[in-house]
């Protein structure tokens, strides 16, 4: 099983590098991410939404989410386009596990973008001190990458069959931007809207990052972020499982 898992991970990296070679990363993806962080921080400054630490930590998470929620749909879309899902279902490894393992490369890519943005944009914005304050908290961003990958894959599992992966991925990305406290937090504490946003990835990890930077330990939020990650991976696995069972019983395959 470990050998197979490693093979899946290696192949997903190869696949990713074919579609997005280093020159594409350097000429397009990285500049876009750098400018997006710059834009979000400047927007936050203009609107007086918080200090640079608050804005930068949120903007970095948002850049990562672009990869872990929108781009991660490719993991399942490629199978629909290539007609390989039936073969995948006949394989030894569960489809959900294959999807989760393949998604690692998108998480890693999001984190690479995040680190690059932290290093460059902190200097551009005249806050070099942020680099040393945020870098030690990278493991928390790894956890947020996992939870957002879970949501991204769950969304893709539902949407790919209807060819609405672009719409759903971008909608989820917007929901996270508005609901997870990237720049603003919707709803009032204790209200139904705030309660719903608690289910979103990053909604707990980001406050934890901000608390740790402020010198206060916040392991409760870290724990909740972990639970959210598990929950969304569970949803993704369940959706793929239901689709497999339905395809076998009725012959209606959303990935055909």
């Amino acid at each position: 099983m470990v050998w197979r898992a490693r093979l899946v991970c290696r192949l997903s990296l190869s696949d990713f590098l074919v579609v997005y070679p280093v020159r594409v990363f350097l000429s397009s993806m990285l500049p876009q991410a750098l400018m997006q962080v710059l834009f979000l921080v400047l927007l936050g400054r203009m609107l007086h939404l918080g200090d640079d630490t608050f804005l930068m930590t949120g903007a970095l998470a948002q850049v990562m989410v672009g990869e872990t929620v929108i781009a991660v749909a490719d993991v399942l879309v490629d199978d629909k386009d290539s007609g390989t899902m039936p073969s995948l279902r006949r394989g030894v490894m569960p489809v959900g596990l294959v999807a989760a393992l393949r998604a690692w490369v998108h998480g890693a890519h999001g984190l690479v973008l995040l680190v690059c943005c932290l290093l460059v944009d902190s200097l551009l914005l005249g806050s070099p001190g942020l680099i040393l304050r945020v870098l030690p908290l990278l493991p928390l961003y790894v956890l947020m990458a996992l939870s957002s990958l879970g949501l991204g894959l769950a969304g893709a599992a539902v949407a790919t069959g209807r060819r609405s992966d672009v719409l759903v991925g971008n909608l989820l990305n917007t929901v996270i931007m508005l609901g997870s406290g990237v720049l603003v937090s919707l709803g009032h504490p204790g209200g139904w809207l705030r309660a719903l946003t608690e289910l979103l990835p990053i909604a707990h990890g980001l406050p934890a990052v901000r608390e740790f930077i402020a010198g206060r330990s916040d392991f409760r939020d870290v724990g909740w972020e972990f639970v959210v990650a598990l929950g969304w991976f569970g949803v993704m696995t369940a959706v793929l499982r239901v689709q497999s069972v339905r395809a076998r019983r009725t012959g209606f395959d959303e990935f055909a």
Binding site: V24, F39, L43, M46, L47, V166, L171
Partner: protein, 262 residues
């Protein structure tokens, strides 16, 4: 055929191309994302929890509208010719009795009409929903300037669409261009927050002038004829550049035999 009859036929082609583009955009997620979701999201962020004066709210609202119009243009209209090529209709377009550039203009017009309408409706609904007062002085002049801004954006769309068939990296270029233009154009974030040496590129961005003009008009300030001329001239310049680039792309495609290659 008389000049008037020819002009009428070209007008029919423009309208038919615009209609076709509007119909084609129905199945695409981009009008929803860029015309509805994005303006709504940014309006929520800019208006959230702030006690804004009508003047400030109007400026932020128009900035959001111009920013999302740019996003719509680059993602929807910018891909018009690429889609013609992908669907294999590019050679027929070029062999047609009517100049392909007329069709391109019509399609860009259709795309900008959809985006502009979606953004306008979303912005109006959101401002009502958020209960933020907006100040629009001289509404007729405001509408005229908004229409001029949309027409200027058609020229921009023609340029982008033509540029994007010269390269296979069009999607990547779209991604890379999105935020620099938003920042350099001062569309949502005022240029006063930028270093002074970074403000001059805004002169060459039509949406910057559109944002300045519509804001000044809405707030009852004097509208400078020079700024109106800049907006119109940039639209014409973009369109002329688009026509030239399109001719070059077709010429290259014919010589290399790659007109149908995607």
């Amino acid at each position: 055929m008389s000049a008037a009859a020819r002009a009428l036929r070209y007008l029919e082609v423009v309208l038919a191309a615009a209609r076709l583009q509007i119909t084609g955009m129905r199945g695409s997620p981009f009008p929803i994302l860029l015309g509805v979701v994005q303006p709504a999201a940014y309006l929520v962020i800019t208006m959230h929890g702030r006690a804004l004066t009508p003047e400030a709210a109007t400026t932020d609202m128009l900035g959001t509208a111009m920013m999302t119009l740019w996003g719509s243009t680059i993602w929807s209209a910018g891909g018009i010719l690429r889609r013609e090529r992908a669907q294999g209709t590019m050679p027929q377009l070029i062999r047609s009795w009517c100049d392909a550039r007329v069709v391109l203009f019509g399609k860009c017009l259709g795309a900008v009409a959809v985006s502009g309408t979606a953004i306008s409706v979303t912005t109006t609904v959101m401002m009502l929903a958020l209960g933020t007062p907006v100040h629009v002085d001289r509404p007729l002049l405001f509408v005229a300037l908004a229409v001029l801004a949309a027409l200027s954006t058609v020229g921009l769309a023609m340029l982008l669409g033509s540029l994007f068939i010269l390269t296979r990296a069009a999607v990547r270029i779209s991604e890379a261009l999105m935020y620099p233009v938003v920042l350099a154009g001062g569309l949502l974030i005022p240029l006063t927050l930028m270093p002074s040496w970074l403000r001059w590129p805004s002169w060459f961005i039509s949406l910057h002038w559109a944002q300045v003009l519509t804001s000044e008009c809405a707030l009852g300030r004097s509208v400078q004829p020079g700024q109106v001329a800049a907006l119109a001239a940039l639209g014409v310049l973009y369109a002329a550049a688009g026509v030239a680039v399109f001719g070059r792309a077709v010429d290259l495609g014919r010589r290399r035999g790659t007109l149908e290659f995607f």
